[in-house]
Amino acid sequence: MELFFNPFDNLLCILLGISFTVWFTLLLVFIIVPAIFGVSFGIRRLYMKTLLKIFEWATLRLERGAKEKNHHLYKPYSNAIIAREPTTSLEEEIKEIRRSGSNKDLDSASEFEMSDIFYFARRGVESIMDDEVTKRFSAEELESWNLLTRSNYNFHYISLRLTVLWGLGLLIRYGILLPLRVTLAFTGVGLLVFLTSLIGLLPNGRMKSFLSEKVHLMCYRICVRALTAIITYHDSENKPKNGGICVANHTSPIDVIILASDGCYAMVGQIHGGLMGVIQRSMVKACPHVWFERSEVKDRHLVAKRLSDHVQDKTKLPILIFPEGTCINNTSVMMFKKGSFDIGATVYPVAIKYDPRFGDAFWNSSKFGMVNYLLRMMSSWAIVCSVWYLPPMSREEGEDAVQFANRVKAAIARKGGLVDLLWDGGLKREKVKDTFKEEQQKLYSKMLVGTQEDRSRS
C-alpha cells in the first residue's frame, strides 16, 4: 500500500512547488518590478475594457429577463424622488399662497395668515421624502450591474448564463484576485516599514530624502496594484510643491494611497495604535510627517502652529489634507473645514473621482469597519478613478478663511463633476446647528414684523 502512495505524494509535492514558483515569478515580473520602476504594461487597462463589455451584457440580460417575467425592474433613484420647486425664497412662496387666497391689496395685508403654515409643512414633508444631505452618506446606486451582489437590487434568478457568470465572477474574485492582492498588500506594507526604518538610520541630507522618496513611491505603487487601482492623472504640471498644502475631496482611506503613489507628501494625522501606529512611526523616521498625539488633536492652536511651521520649511514635503473631515460618497463635495486655509500657504487643490462601475470605493464607517472595508475593496473587480491636479490657489485680499475654503471647494467640485454642497460633512454624525433654523425664522419674521412697523408708522 505504501509503495502505491509514495510516487503520488512526490508528484503532488513537485506540482505544488512548481505552481508556487511560477506564481511568484509572475507576481514579481508583472507586478512588483514595474512598481519599483513606475512603468506599466497596460494589463490593467485591458482588464478594465473587458470587464466593461461583460457588465454591459449582464445589464442587458437583466433588463430583458425582467421584461419577460414582467417584474417591475427597480431603477435606483440616483438623484431625486420628488419634484422640488426651484428654490424660490420664503417670501415669494408665502406671498403666492396668500395671493391665491385673498382679494385684498397685497401690500397692506402682508401679515400673518393661517395659510402660511402650508409653506413650512410642505417643505418639511418634502425633506422627509427626499433630502439632499443624507443620501450623500450612503453608497451611490448604480444604473448598470457589475456582477457584485452587494450593488444590486434586482437580482433574481433570471437566466442560467447570468448566474453562471456571477458564480464565475465570485470564484475569480475570491479565489484568485483576493489572495493575490492580499499577498501584494502585505509585501507593500512590509517593505514600507522595513525600508523606511532602514533609511531612518542614515544622517539627514540629500541622499536620505532621495532614498525616502523612492522607497515611499515604490511601496505605494505596490499597494496600488494590491487594489488593482487604475488611476488616470490629469494636469500633472500642477502637482503640489514643497511648502504648499494639498487639499482633496475625501471618499475613502484609499485616497491617500492614490495620491501618494504619484508624488511625495507629508501626511497629517493622529497616531494610532496597532499596525497603523507601527507604519506611522516607521514612516516618520525616513521623512518628516506631521503626526499628533491624541491629546494634541483637540488643541487647535497647536495643530495650526505645527502645520504652519512645516510649510514654512521649504525643504519639507507638501502637506496632504482632506478638509471635509469625513468620507463622503463621491457624488458631492461637502463643507471644507477652514483650519488648513487659515495658515497662509499656497493651496494645491486636487479632485478625485471614482468610477463606481467597478467597485464602490466609499467607506461607510458606520456600516463597515476598516478591515471589512479593505476586504471588500480587495474583492471588487478594480478601483478605477481619475485624479485632476488643479492650478494652485492662494488667499486673496479681503477674503477670509471660510470664503477661501469655499472657493477651493467649488473649483474641486466643478473639475470632478461633483455636486457642491454647503452642508457640513459632520452632519453624518452630528445634528444641524440651530443657526439654520434661526435663518428661516429671521426670514419669516422680516416678512411679518417688517410690515407691521411700516403700518404703525403710517
Partner: protein
C-alpha cells in the same frame, strides 16, 4: 438567490396601501426604500430620532410639529403604513376622479389636506385652535425674532379675522372658511418624478 424589493410583494400591506392612499406601485416602492433608508437600525419602524436625522427637517421651524403628525396619539413609533398614510395627504388631487358613494374620502382631498394643516395647529386635538396654541405655533415659526407684544398682536389679528362665533378660538369650519380661496392643492402637494 439574492433578494430585493423589486416587487410590491415585499412591501407590507402593499396592495391595500395602494388602494387606500392612491399611490402607484412605483411610488409606493420608492417610499418604502426611503422608509428603510430612514430606518437606520433596521427596526421595521421609525422613531422620532430617525426623523431628526434629516438635517433639512431640523432647519424647519415647525419641524418637530411635522414629525409629531406622523405619530398617532400615544404611540412612539411609526410603521410603514402610518408613514405612507400621512404622506398620502400630500398627493396632488386628481381632477376628474369619480367616487362611488360608499368610498371613504381620499387622503389627498382638499378637506383632508386642510384637516392635516389644522392638526398642525391644534396639537391637543380638541377641534379648536385656541389662542395659546396659535401663540405656540407663531413662537416656533418666528423664534426669538419678535417680541412678546408683537406676537400677541399677530395672534389677536388672526383670531379676530377668522373667529366667526367669537369664542376666542378657531374651529375647523372657521379655519376652512378663512382659507376658502387658497389654492390648497397646489400648495400642499408634492409631485413625484417619473
Amino acid at each position: 438567490m439574492g433578494s430585493s424589493s423589486s416587487s410590491l410583494n415585499n412591501v407590507p400591506d402593499g396592495q391595500q396601501l395602494m388602494q387606500e392612499t392612491g399611490f402607484s406601485a412605483a411610488h409606493l416602492l420608492r417610499l418604502y426604500e426611503r422608509f428603510k433608508f430612514l430606518d437606520k437600525d433596521n427596526r421595521g419602524h421609525l422613531r422620532s430620532e430617525d426623523f431628526e436625522a434629516v438635517p433639512e427637517l431640523s432647519e424647519n421651524p415647525i419641524g418637530d410639529r411635522i414629525v409629531g403628525a406622523f405619530f398617532l396619539p400615544g404611540q412612539e413609533t411609526v410603521d410603514f403604513s402610518s408613514f405612507v398614510r400621512v404622506l398620502a395627504h400630500f398627493r396632488p388631487t386628481e381632477k376628474n376622479r369619480t367616487r362611488a358613494g360608499a368610498q371613504p374620502e381620499p387622503a389627498n382631498s382638499r378637506n383632508r389636506k386642510l384637516k392635516f394643516a389644522f392638526r398642525l395647529y391644534d396639537r391637543d386635538r380638541d377641534g379648536k385652535i385656541s389662542r395659546t396654541e396659535l401663540l405656540q405655533v407663531l413662537r416656533e415659526m418666528l423664534g426669538m425674532q419678535v417680541t412678546e407684544e408683537q406676537l400677541q398682536s399677530i395672534a389677536d389679528r388672526a383670531i379676530q379675522e377668522a373667529d366667526l362665533d367669537k369664542d376666542d378660538a378657531i374651529s375647523f369650519d372657521e379655519f376652512r372658511k378663512s382659507l376658502e380661496k387658497v389654492n390648497i392643492d397646489h400648495k400642499m402637494s408634492i409631485r413625484f418624478l417619473e
